[in-house]
Each structure stands twice: as structure tokens, then as C-alpha cells.
């Protein structure tokens, strides 16, 4: 079977690269030299933000693992897992991380001497898979390890998607034929081609999948030439890759509509726009730097007299979000860059005012008008009321 999906134009030949690493380790051992594995350090202190490209990119820091008494277990596990992944690539087989966890269990069960490698829980095997990805600087999908990505439910009367399947066949989906059912890109947005029947004016990404569905049911995409997407919380790789694809292929203005709170701004919107520190390697292909924050904006709260809440500092989750926001203003290169000053200002405002306001609060403005939220969104786009 052929390699299933090509995620990106990438000049790394993974099996070859893996063999080079294995060869180096083996020859080091032959010379009684301690082999060393290096992986990109995926953390905020190794993240750099270039306003010209618009996403967080990795710096020079690496995590070095040198063979010794303490690391011999990790290295043995890395090589063991690498062999499984290489075999998958060779025969074109795909798996989820959970499935790989059980594949390891199966192999260990069959061979007594592997017993010490056994993983106690999936966290342990996941960490090894992530390390291999960071070491080879590839996406897990490129190692044929897929996730069941949530979110990205998309509605449009204009969009037509063509998917190239593993066997080379093509499937074409006209989103206008789906009614209130969404199209969902799942974990392989990069294997899709996009076409529009008529010029699309904008793409709206709504944090709440429920609210996106309400807008669709009430005829949002019928009245507007647009693409409407539900993000379903923190954007998955699918949502991020899909947004990037829409941005690059269709070149339409993109807006994000979500709650006004530190968590949404920092975790949801920043990840969608510029990627995250944990996924430094994939941010280039999994972020949509053009997306704008449509709201809820601090000025909307006043303008529309939106119901809002005090942030409860006694609530551990909310207190943590506030503390993280303060950290972000000091350490996050995304918020430190002057290009994103507007977003940093909102974060500062949230820390100062200690309030939160939800996207659904727009439904309070005119409770008797079912499409009032739509009207406000359009009005905001028209008035350029976004950051």
C-alpha cells in the first residue's frame, strides 16, 4: 500500500533519516562512545515569534539524551517505538497513539525479554512518540500516527472540497448539499483541495460549536457568502490545519468569535493564530496568522450592555488562567510583539477588570430577535470592530 497521506511538502525522508540516527548510535556504541539523541525543545523559552510570518517558531534549544544508567530505559523505548513506526510507514499502516500503546503491549507480551520495556500507562508511550516526532522534526501524522481530532465543523453554500484518498481516488463534497449537517475535515485537512462556487466574503470561526450550529440553522450561510466553522474549544490540529488551508487557498478575511476571557484569548485564539509552544514544529502549517479577534471585545460589553461575570479568584481554574495571563504578558513572545499589542491590551484589561463575558451574551441584546447575534457580527465586521 502506498503512503497514505502527504501532510506537507517536506524534504525529509523519514525512514532514511531514522536509519541515519540509528546508524550513528550503533557506530558510537561500537566505539564505546555514549550515543546522544537530540530533540527540539518544545517550550515557551524556545519559542520565537516573527511578526512577518506570524507564528511561533522553534529556537536553537535542544533536549539531549545521552546514554547512561538512568537514560538507558528511555533510549531502548525510543528505538523500540521507532521500529514500530518505521514498519507502519513501510507498509502504509496508520494508528492512533492508544493503538500504538496496545501494539507495544502485544509485542512485549510475545517476547519475554521485552518485558522491562512495558508501559504502565499511555502517557508513557505518548511521551516516547512525541520525542520521536521532535527528534525527527516531523508531525505525528507523518509517522502515520493520527488523532481523532475534534472540532472544525464547517458550513457553507459556496465551498466545494475535494479529497484525495489513500488509493488515489478523489471524493468531492459540495457543502451546500449538507443542510444543517456540517462538513468536518478530521485529521487530514492537508489532503484537501478547496474551490468556491461564488466569491466568499469572509470565514467566521465560532468558539462554541453549538452557537455555530444555531447561526447555520437560522440561515447565516444562506444570507451571507461565507464559511462558518465551529472550533469546539481549544483548536485541535484539524481545526488549525483546516483554518490555515482556508486562509492560504481562498485568501478570505478570517474572524474568530469567542468568549472574552483570559483563557480564550491565550489558549484558544493564540493557538489558532500563531500555534503553541508545545507544537513548535508544526506551527508553520497549523496556524492561521491572518485570523482576527472579532469579539467579544471589551468595548462590546459596554456598547451592548452585555451581562458579564466577576472572575472568581477562589476558583482554582480561573485563578490559574489569570496567573497565566500575567505570565503571558511578561514571557509570551506572541503577546510581547508590538504587532499584537491590541490583543495584549485586551489581556491587560481582563487582568485589571477581572471580569469575563461569554459569546452567547449577544443573545441578550434583543431577546426576541433570533438573528440579532448575526446582525451584530455583521455590523462588527462592517465597522472593523475587531483586533
Amino acid at each position: 500500500m502506498a503512503k497514505l497521506i502527504k501532510i506537507r511538502e517536506h524534504n525529509i525522508d523519514i525512514p532514511k533519516e531514522a536509519k541515519v540516527i540509528a546508524e550513528k548510535m550503533l557506530s558510537d556504541l561500537e566505539k564505546s562512545k555514549r550515543p546522544v539523541l537530540e530533540a527540539v525543545k518544545t517550550s515557551l523559552d524556545n519559542s520565537f515569534y516573527n511578526p512577518k510570518v506570524g507564528f511561533l517558531a522553534p529556537g536553537d534549544k535542544v533536549v539531549r539524551t545521552e546514554l547512561n544508567v538512568s537514560s538507558v530505559q528511555k533510549l531502548a523505548r525510543v528505538v523500540f517505538m521507532l521500529e514500530i513506526l518505521l514498519r507502519n510507514l513501510d507498509i502504509g499502516s496508520v494508528n492512533t497513539k492508544r493503538e500504538l500503546y496496545y501494539i507495544c503491549k502485544g509485542l512485549i507480551k510475545g517476547e519475554k525479554k521485552y518485558k522491562p520495556l512495558d508501559f504502565e500507562d499511555q502517557n508513557e508511550s505518548d511521551a516516547i512518540i512525541d520525542f520521536i516526532g521532535d527528534m525527527l522534526r516531523v508531525y505525528r501524522e507523518e509517522l502515520n500516527c493520527f488523532a481523532n481530532d475534534r472540532g472544525g465543523q464547517t458550513y457553507s453554500q459556496q465551498l466545494v472540497v475535494t479529497e484525495t484518498l489513500a488509493d488515489g481516488d478523489r471524493a468531492t463534497v459540495d457543502l451546500s448539499t449538507l443542510g444543517t449537517a456540517p462538513y468536518q475535515p478530521k485529521n487530514k485537512p492537508q489532503s484537501l483541495k478547496l474551490k468556491v462556487k461564488k466569491k466568499v466574503d469572509f470565514c467566521l470561526i465560532v468558539e462554541s460549536e453549538g452557537t455555530a450550529n444555531t447561526l447555520q440553522t437560522m440561515g447565516f450561510t444562506k444570507r451571507n457568502n461565507c464559511i462558518l466553522m465551529g472550533a469546539q474549544g481549544v483548536p485541535s490540529n484539524a481545526v488549525r490545519g483546516w483554518s490555515k488551508l482556508i486562509q492560504d487557498e481562498l485568501e478570505v478575511p478570517m474572524y474568530f468569535f469567542g468568549d472574552l476571557d483570559a483563557y480564550t484569548l491565550q489558549n484558544i485564539f493564540r493557538t489558532l493564530k500563531a500555534g503553541s509552544a508545545a507544537s513548535l514544529i508544526r506551527n508553520a502549517d497549523f496556524s492561521a496568522p491572518e485570523v482576527k479577534f472579532l469579539g467579544v471585545l471589551p468595548e462590546d460589553v459596554k456598547k451592548y450592555d452585555l451581562p458579564h461575570y466577576k472572575v472568581k479568584e477562589s476558583d482554582p481554574a480561573e485563578a490559574r488562567a489569570l496567573k497565566k495571563a500575567k505570565d503571558a504578558l511578561e514571557n509570551d513572545p506572541f503577546f510581547l510583539d508590538k504587532k499584537n499589542k491590541g490583543l495584549a491590551d485586551i489581556l491587560r484589561w481582563l487582568i485589571k477588570e477581572k471580569i469575563r463575558c461569554e459569546q452567547q451574551s449577544f443573545f441578550s441584546v434583543d431577546p426576541k430577535d433570533p438573528i440579532k447575534t448575526e446582525k451584530i457580527i455583521l455590523e462588527k465586521i462592517k465597522n472593523k470592530s475587531y483586533v
Binding site: A22, R34, S70, Q73, A76, F80, Y114
Partner: protein, 580 residues
């Protein structure tokens, strides 16, 4: 109007036996055993005899009440014996005691226990206690059955006869009553016997429980503990009523003399201070008989308001660290232990001494996630019920045992195969109930126990830490052995390399990890040596010398030196040890 009647003490206790430890068939067996053994030990101690006690407990039929067995308990001692004329009094009359209110740290105090046991046997089996006694002055022993005349609170000796007994002196008492037998656990008979053995190093005990074989435990000390003389009461421990009653014991003497000779810590200086606190000088010269109640009230108040020296701690006795260390070995094979005897101190104006023994046993309480086995003692009597309300339990739970390497759920007893023994000795222990099951927790007492526990914990932790280090090093070594071959094999497969490369890589890896493992080996040897050296020191301190112990001390100490200076040398020592 209903008629007001007066009932005897015996009537009261016969109806309220649950208050003195007979609240269930299970407790009845334990309490009876406890009362008999306590009496034997107290009697031996008073007569300066090294106690030899025999205990036999068996089921002899079904009980007369539901769900009980007819249980027979026999306790025999080599004590001074009881004068036959006193037999009925001792076993059949309540509050007939030689120890009541003397302010000594004896086990028994009021003279309730053994009469209650007789009552229980009488109530459930219609027969009281069967007793045999012989004092040194008697040629033949006297035996008979003692019953309690409940109406009049007097004992009756029936079927009295003289018999031969090949014993110099002693008492043998036998009860048959309704009960249920539990051997292990908090309320178990074995737990009681273990506890008694632990805090009585001078006791030789033989016991046979149910169908099990006779067990013989030798004494590890030949010193009969001397009960310190009672000291005079401290005036701050008195209530007004007690104060007045106390004065009646002194007849016609003057107040100043009464205060100085009837109490401890009252000096001429104190008398002066009493007057500054409102005691009129003229009263001091008056005889007690001339004082009115109102005067007593004023005197009492002035005494309470004056600061006095804390009472003397001379009236308490300890088992001692050495004796405790030897005694703990009698409970089973000890892995390691630590004992602490605190200096006597004053808690709540009463002299108290706390002793702690913590031990890990090899074949005992082996479940790692079970709480430690707790043995509590008050005046060397094991306390076995209602541990949650006891000052000792509170103190243990208040210590952070994680600091000493033990696992401990928050606010609970720590876990593991350990025995924690805590003993409190004081002439005035405040119990929560008449059956003496729990010690009332005052802040001062809990703090004193806590300190003892923490000292013992520190000693224990050096053992545990060394073991942990040892385990850690062993794990590392195992790591190398397990993972190295897998690593090479996988690499060879990925690179499709041949056998000769595999061999070469294996050798290279061996060299690499060999360097690591040499270091680990040396560390391990050092840890081993330190631990065994420590164990040897402990053994030496106890005076237990095994055949091999001297040789191993040498090797161990050599190891410490070698490991500390040169790793190569350690290897050699290790090799020679192996050859041995």
C-alpha cells in the same frame, strides 16, 4: 412515692459490667485475662519476685447466652500468694484493694477488675472464681471457689480444702464463663500477650491458646522493677472537697504543719506567699479541727493562686531503652527498631514518662498498605480498645511520618509492617472510662508523646533511608542488564547490520555501562556496608552476639573504608566476601 433503696457496690457493678470492660463476650475474655495477669505482675513486683506466669485459654463448650462459647481461662503465677483469709476479699469484694489512691504507678488501682471477672463468671456460668493459693509460710496450698455476694458486696469462699502444690508460693486462678475468643487484631489475646511481654522484660511467660502448642518466652532482664515510693500529692492537683477530706487524715495538727507535711512542694517560703495571696496569718497557727468550711475555702483558694514548684518526677518508673530493646526481640524476628525513653516530666501537674519503641518485623504484619500495628500502654498495661480517642493515637497521627521515610495517609496512622509501641507511666493517668481503655488527651500530654515519637522516628529513618538508597542502586543495575541488549538488538535491526557489528556494539555498550555500573556497584557496597555496620552496632548495644557477627563487622567496616577511598578496592572486598 416510690421507696428509696440503697444498693451495694457489687450490685452496681453487677448491673454495669460494661463499664469495667465486660461489654461484649469478646472483651470479657480479654478483660478477665488482663485483670488476672495484672494482679500477678503487681504482686510479684511488690514482693520482689521475678514473675513466671502461665496462661491457658480454651473453649470447653457452648455458652449459656446466644453466640458465645464457654471459655476457660487459667492464670498461674509464682508470686507471694494470698493469705487464705484474704481470698474471698480479693476475688469477691469490690473496692477491696491494697493500692487504692496511693499515688504509685502500679497496674491495678481501685480493686474493681478481678471482682468484676468473678461476677461475670458467676452471672454467665453460675460459678465464680476457682482459686488456689500458697504463701511461703504454708506447707500445703489452699483451694476453693470464690463467689460474690452481690447484695452485700462481700466475697464467699466455698469448698475450701488443703491440697499439695509443688510450688514455693503462688496463686492459680481459673474462670469459666461465656465469651468469644479472638487471637489477633486490636482486641486480640495475642496482641495483649505481646504487649505485656514487651513492657515486662523481667517476665517469663508460658501460654497455650486454644489448640495451639505451648509457647515459652524467657525473660530478658533479671531485675525486678522497683515501684518508686509514692510522693506526697501536689496541692494543685486537688479539688476543694478532696482538700478537706485529705485534711481529716491528719487529725488535730496545725494548718501550717498540715500544708507542709501533707503535700509536696509546700515550703516555708510557700506559706509566706500564701499569706500574700489572701490567707490570713492567724489561720496558719490554728489546729485543723478548729477550721470552718469557709476557712478551708479561703485556704484552698490562696494555695491555688500561688505558684508552686512542679511536682517531683521521682514517682514514675521506666522500662528503659536497653530492656525495651531486648524485650522487643521477643515479639518476633526484628528487621530493625528504635527505642526512646524520655526523661520524666510534668504534664498537667502530674509526673509522666513516655517511652516509645518502633520496630519493623520480618514475618509480621507484612501487608505494606496496612496501618502499622499500634501497641498502647498505660502503666505497663496494654490498652486495646477505642484507639481513635486515645492521646497516644492522636500524637502518632500528628507526626509527619513521611519525613522519616514512612508512607502516611493524611491525618492517619502511617502504613507498613511496623509495630509502634508507646508506653505512658504515671501515678495519675487520666483515663476516659473505668475500663481503662483510652488515655484522655490533654495538649501537654500529646505534645510530650509527640516528641518521643519524633525522636524514635529520626532513629528509624536512618535505617529506612539506607534501604531506599540500596533499592535505588539495585534498580539502576537491573536497568542496565535489562535494557542494554534490547537497545543494541533494535539498532541492529533498523540498520540491517550484521552479527559482527552487533557483537562489537554489545562490547562497547558493556564498557560504557560498565563504567556506570562500577560506580553504582561501589555506591551499593558502601550503602550495604554502612547499613550492616549500623545493624551490628545495634546488636552490640543489645549484647546479642551471633556467631558470625564479629567477622561481618570487620568486613562491613572494611567495606566502608574501601568504598570511601578507592572504588577498585571495594570490588576486591566484594569478591572476597563472595568467596567466603
Amino acid at each position: 412515692m416510690s421507696k428509696i433503696t440503697k444498693s451495694s457496690t457489687a450490685e452496681y457493678f453487677a448491673k454495669n459490667l460494661q463499664q469495667v470492660g465486660f461489654s461484649s463476650p469478646l472483651k470479657a475474655v480479654l478483660t478477665t485475662l488482663k485483670e488476672a495477669v495484672d494482679n500477678s505482675l503487681d504482686a510479684c513486683e511488690q514482693a520482689g519476685i521475678l514473675p513466671e506466669i502461665k496462661v491457658e485459654i480454651k473453649r470447653v463448650g457452648t455458652g449459656s447466652t446466644k453466640n458465645t462459647d464457654l471459655v476457660k481461662i487459667v492464670v498461674e503465677d509464682n508470686g507471694p500468694g494470698i493469705d487464705p483469709d484474704d481470698l474471698a476479699k480479693v476475688f469477691g469484694e469490690y473496692l477491696a484493694s491494697s493500692k487504692f489512691g496511693r499515688g504509685q504507678c502500679s497496674r491495678g488501682q481501685q480493686g474493681i477488675g478481678i471482682s468484676a471477672a468473678t461476677t461475670w463468671a458467676q452471672l454467665t456460668n453460675a460459678k465464680g472464681a476457682f482459686v488456689m493459693t500458697k504463701t511461703v509460710n504454708m506447707r500445703k496450698a489452699v483451694k476453693g471457689q470464690v463467689d460474690v455476694d452481690i447484695k452485700s458486696n462481700t466475697g464467699i469462699l466455698r469448698n475450701k480444702e488443703s491440697v499439695d502444690w509443688d510450688k514455693k508460693s503462688g496463686v492459680r486462678v481459673e474462670f469459666a464463663f461465656d465469651g468469644r475468643i479472638q487471637l489477633n487484631g486490636d482486641g486480640g489475646l495475642l496482641t495483649y500477650l505481646d504487649g505485656t511481654v514487651l513492657v515486662n522484660p523481667h517476665l517469663t511467660l508460658d501460654y497455650k491458646l486454644l489448640d495451639n502448642d505451648w509457647v515459652h518466652i524467657d525473660r530478658v532482664s533479671n531485675i525486678v522493677p522497683e515501684l518508686p515510693e509514692a510522693t506526697l500529692p501536689h496541692p494543685h492537683t486537688f479539688k476543694l472537697g478532696e482538700f478537706i477530706t485529705h485534711s481529716t487524715l491528719f487529725g488535730k495538727i496545725n494548718l501550717d504543719k498540715f500544708l507542709k507535711s501533707g503535700f509536696s512542694r509546700v515550703t516555708d517560703q510557700s506559706l509566706k506567699e500564701f499569706t500574700t495571696k489572701g490567707l490570713s496569718k492567724s489561720l496558719l497557727g490554728k489546729p485543723l479541727t478548729a477550721l470552718k468550711d469557709e476557712d478551708f475555702k479561703n485556704i484552698f483558694k490562696a494555695v491555688q493562686d500561688t505558684e508552686l514548684m512542679a511536682p517531683s518526677t521521682k514517682s514514675v518508673l521506666t522500662v528503659g531503652e536497653e530492656a525495651l530493646s531486648k524485650s522487643i526481640q521477643r515479639l518476633g524476628q526484628v528487621d530493625f527498631f528504635s527505642v526512646v525513653t524520655r526523661k520524666p516530666t510534668i504534664c498537667d501537674f502530674k509526673p509522666v514518662v513516655v517511652e516509645v519503641a518502633l520496630a519493623r518485623f520480618i514475618n509480621r504484619n507484612t501487608e505494606a498498605d496496612e496501618p502499622v500495628q499500634l501497641l498502647r500502654f498505660a502503666n505497663r498495661v496494654p490498652l486495646q480498645f477505642d484507639k481513635s480517642g486515645c492521646a497516644i493515637t492522636w500524637a502518632i497521627e500528628s507526626v509527619n511520618w513521611k519525613n522519616y521515610g514512612l508512607v502516611q495517609p493524611k491525618g492517619s496512622l502511617p502504613l507498613g509492617p511496623y509495630v509502634f509501641a508507646v508506653s505512658i507511666v504515671s501515678p495519675f493517668i487520666k483515663f476516659k472510662n473505668a475500663s481503662k481503655e483510652t488515655i484522655d488527651a490533654s495538649e501537654e500530654l500529646v505534645e510530650e508523646i509527640r516528641r518521643a515519637l519524633m525522636q524514635a522516628g529520626q532513629k528509624l529513618s536512618s535505617h529506612i533511608r539506607k534501604e531506599q538508597k540500596e533499592a535505588d542502586l539495585e534498580r539502576k543495575l537491573a536497568h542496565i542488564e535489562q535494557f542494554a541488549p534490547i537497545l543494541v538488538e533494535s539498532l541492529v535491526r533498523i540498520t540491517k547490520s550484521n552479527e559482527s557489528r552487533k557483537k562489537k556494539a554489545e562490547e562497547g555498550l558493556k564498557k560504557l555501562l560498565g563504567r556506570d555500573s562500577d560506580e553504582a556497584h561501589a555506591d551499593l557496597e558502601q550503602a550495604h556496608a554502612k547499613l550492616s555496620a549500623q545493624k551490628e552496632r545495634d546488636a552490640k548495644k543489645l549484647g546479642i552476639t551471633e556467631e558470625t557477627s564479629e567477622a561481618s563487622v570487620e568486613v562491613a567496616e572494611e567495606n566502608v573504608k574501601a568504598a570511601g577511598t578507592k572504588k577498585q578496592a571495594t570490588k576486591k572486598v566484594a569478591e572476597t566476601t563472595k568467596k567466603k
